[in-house]
């Protein structure tokens, strides 16, 4: 039993990869089925989060642990969509979409928008002439910012072209090198899994 998940995983991975190289209908069909199954199993995994949160916060409310009121709010949130789906017109019904647009969407978007403050405050603190690396980093960043600010084209019309050049030539070249490097790393990790060396997901 201990070896079954690992062996099954290697077999599935190998089969889907073989399909890429060999044009055999049986392999193709099998590979398609497995990908479909994996997508459905992933959907079940999405439900795991709900179960885990429900149990944890139910226990917190029952034991009146510190912060149990917040847990109550969380559980109310957990139940909101199931109630809206089964009792008020389905997942895309009026109540469901109202909750999504006005509460979930709003909070989600605002948490991300807070990044603006931290990124800008971080720019102020990081782009200082402390070392050669910081200067190079700062100049490259500021030139791109200059290029993306049409208001500064009055100072010099070449800012957008310079920013584009920095982005595409040295930046693009280095980024391509990083993509190739990470590609090799990803392939190495995949080969480790295929050879059974990488076992973290099955132990």
């Amino acid at each position: 039993m201990k070896q079954l998940p690992l062996r099954l995983g290697i077999a599935i991975c190998g089969l889907i990869l073989l399909d890429h190289f060999l044009l055999i209908n049986l392999l193709r069909n099998l590979s398609k089925e497995i990908l479909d199954y994996a997508a459905i199993v992933t959907a079940f995994a999405m439900g795991l989060g709900f179960v885990s949160l429900s149990i944890r916060h139910y226990k917190a409310i029952k034991a009146r642990r510190e912060g149990w009121l917040y847990s109550t709010i969380l559980v109310m949130g957990l139940l909101s969509f199931p109630v809206a789906t089964f009792l008020f017109g389905g997942l895309r019904g009026r109540l469901g979409m109202w909750i999504y647009d006005n509460i979930y969407g709003s909070i989600n978007a605002t948490f991300y928008s807070i990044q603006m403050f931290y990124v800008c405050s971080g720019s102020y603190r990081v782009f200082r002439v402390k070392s050669t690396q910081a200067v190079v980093l700062g100049i490259a960043a500021m030139l791109v910012v200059f290029g993306r600010t049409p208001a500064l084209e009055g100072l010099w019309a070449g800012f957008p072209n310079l920013a584009d050049w920095l982005w595409k030539v040295p930046g693009g070249g280095a980024q391509r090198g990083i993509v190739i490097g990470t590609g090799v790393g990803t392939m190495a990790a995949g080969v480790r899994y295929l050879l059974g060396i990488e076992r973290s997901s099955t132990q």
Partner: protein, 202 residues
């Protein structure tokens, strides 16, 4: 001001989250917990819809018995909660997901990230300064990531060039990222000033 309840709730949630900029407080904690809860509930309902449409309906109405396989595999994920003694079985479901994901990523990476990028790098004729500089930055960055042996002499110089190319790339990337953050903030302010307070219309 808008008479719509949804707009009021939207704006109040927005301002409640912004209070965290001053310091963490009960209002922001309420919004955090609400967000986590609603998000998990939404994901659950999407998962239910997916399983119903892709597996249950073909199994129950079209008699496709093979769709029982992913349903059983999916249910195995919950053995941890339902049948703790059989919790080892959930690793089978995890193995299916990880294996399929690994194969798909490996295939895609080979073609797109590796071969595609190498083709892109060598297919451009080195007849202009820009083309030559891009090629040099690409090669020197790849050499920078060679940790198999220590860099000496010319290789050390090329590796160092890769390091500086990456500094420029990261700086340029950061400069570009700053703009994106403003967009997210203006989106929220549009709701507060435009839709809620109605200070302007678009």
């Amino acid at each position: 001001m808008s008479p719509d309840l949804g707009t009021w709730v939207n704006a109040i949630c927005t301002l409640a989250v912004f209070t965290v900029l001053y310091r963490h407080n009960p209002v922001s904690k309420v919004t955090e917990n609400l967000y986590v809860g609603i998000g998990a509930g939404y994901q659950l309902m999407l998962a239910y819809e997916t399983v119903r449409n892709k597996a249950w309906i073909p199994l129950a109405t079209k008699g496709e018995a093979k769709m029982a396989i992913p349903i059983v595999l999916g249910l195995l994920l919950f053995t941890n909660y339902v049948l703790p003694k059989a919790r080892e079985w959930n690793k089978i479901a995890i193995a299916v997901m990880v294996a399929a994901g690994t194969a798909v990523t490996l295939k895609g990476t080979m073609e797109a990230d590796f071969l595609g990028q190498i083709r892109g790098a060598i297919s451009v004729p080195l007849t202009s300064f820009d083309a030559m500089l891009t090629f040099i930055c690409t090669v020197s960055t790849i050499i920078y990531f060679l940790f198999t042996f220590s860099m000496k002499g010319v290789m050390a110089t090329v590796s160092r060039l890769g390091y500086w190319a990456m500094m420029v790339a990261f700086g340029a990337g950061f400069g570009n990222t700053i703009g994106g953050r403003f967009a997210q903030f203006t989106g929220r302010m549009d709701v507060v000033f435009g839709e809620w307070l109605k200070l302007y219309t678009r």
